[in-house]
């Protein structure tokens, strides 16, 4: 039996979501339209029972600093802890890792000429934890193992959308050549459009977001026509987190995909928030 990519789960990861969960605000008028996107995702996951999540996200100054800032980092740890990020979120549950599959990925990516940084120890931040808090609310421990891939969205030069899609496709090839029988969920977290810093703080771009949501499944190459700088202009300085979604889409492979679920809501915190679930058609 071959490992199987069962679907792709994409969501915003705004820290404020963690605050809302902590306070139990899911049904308040402000938060309800956002949390409404998740029941279909939870139902699908309950049915699909993934064993491993390959998660593309970006560090927010917890695990990486400017002394050693990788363009692409791949976790190869036996487990991944969350930690205090300094702004009052609870410390989230640890994830079990899958070192054997991580190293298979790493071997395959380096052979495919991706110059990754390999992390045998790695803290994961809210960008990894919150998507699973949303997907599996209230569980005692995560029902799946984690392989985290971190993309630099902090310090320019960022990898281009084109390079991120290529990274994802290389991850797909690696998963195709893995001998295990895992049911693999691909995740991309972050975005959509938002900008926290500078005089343009509060900027969003529903047009660009919709362009991304409408093309991600069927025509991801459409998202690679911009440089990372152009994405920052279009989506806001933190909207470049769409790079995580683009890489995750690549990891699903160039197969027809069906949209199981989609939600888009403005505003959550300073962000145009979205969730999306795709599965092989």
């Amino acid at each position: 039996m071959m490992a199987k990519i069962i679907g792709g789960y994409f969501t915003s990861h705004v820290p404020g979501i963690g605050g809302a969960i902590m306070r139990g605000d899911q049904e308040t008028p402000y938060w309800k339209p956002f949390f409404a996107g998740f029941p279909p995702i939870r139902e699908w996951l309950a049915e699909a029972r993934p064993d491993v999540a390959v998660v593309f996200s970006n560090d927010h100054g917890l695990n990486f600093f400017l002394d050693k800032m990788p363009t692409f980092a791949v976790g190869a740890a036996p487990s991944y802890d969350n930690a205090d990020e300094g702004w009052g979120l609870p410390v989230y549950k640890s994830f079990e890792g899958h070192p054997a599959l991580s190293w298979h990925l790493i071997d395959s990516l380096v052979r495919d000429e991706f110059d990754i940084t390999t992390c045998q120890k790695m803290l994961v931040d809210h960008a990894v934890s919150i998507p699973f808090e949303l997907a599996y609310p209230g569980v005692e421990s995560w029902p799946l193992k984690l392989i985290p891939l971190a993309i630099n969205t902090v310090q320019y030069p960022l990898p281009s959308p084109k390079r991120c899609l290529a990274l994802g496709r290389a991850v797909h090839r690696a998963l195709q050549s893995w001998g295990g029988d895992e049911r693999i969920l691909i995740c991309g977290t972050g975005g959509l459009s938002h900008q926290l810093d500078g005089p343009r703080a509060g900027f969003m771009n529903p047009d660009y977001d919709m362009f991304c949501l409408d093309n991600l499944a069927a025509n991801p190459d459409a998202l690679t026509g911009h440089t990372a700088e152009q994405v920052a202009e279009l989506a806001g300085t933190q909207g470049v987190e769409i790079l995580n979604w683009i890489a995750a889409r690549g990891a699903m492979g160039d197969v027809p995909l069906a949209e199981v679920s989609r939600n888009y809501h403005i505003p959550i915190s300073n962000t145009a928030a979205a969730s999306l679930l795709l599965e092989p058609a």
Binding site: G61, L196, G198, T227, Q238, Y264, I266
Partner: protein, 136 residues
């Protein structure tokens, strides 16, 4: 249709300066400030900053420009001094400021006005959306 960048600026460097984006020039200028903010992942360090802000800033060799921006809680000046928002957010956390407070401080709006402005973006969501498929 692929949305095009709003400006005609195609040179990456120019675009970076125009937005502005945290690139090598800013990263070089801001290293000390960002290093201090990175330290705030640990509660003991946040407490040390609160106990003696001057001493803590001195320990991280903040430039005079950085020290002034921090003392004045001036977010735009922190950004000018090379601060990166991912690290600055940890400093803001010490002051009890969230991203909407930061937004208000940076745009000169009241927090309520900033929040109201955020809501108005919802009006720009394109109506012609692909209909959602029901969960199978």
């Amino acid at each position: 249709m692929v949305p095009q960048p709003a400006t005609a600026i195609t040179q990456e460097q120019s675009l970076r300066r125009a937005i502005p984006l945290f690139d090598g020039a800013l990263a070089t200028r801001g290293y000390e400030l960002n290093a201090m903010c990175f330290s705030f992942n640990e509660k003991a360090n946040r407490d040390a900053f609160l106990a003696d802000e001057d001493a803590y800033c001195a320990r991280f060799h903040l430039t005079p420009e950085q020290r002034k921006a921090v003392a004045e809680r001036n977010v735009l000046a922190m950004l000018d001094a090379g601060g990166n928002v991912y690290y600055l957010a940890k400093l803001a956390g010490i002051f009890g400021l969230g991203v909407q407070d930061l937004g208000a401080l940076q745009t000169g709006m009241s927090v309520d006005a900033f929040k109201a402005m955020l809501v108005t973006w919802a009006e720009k969501i394109p109506h012609a959306r692909i209909p959602q498929k029901e969960n199978a």
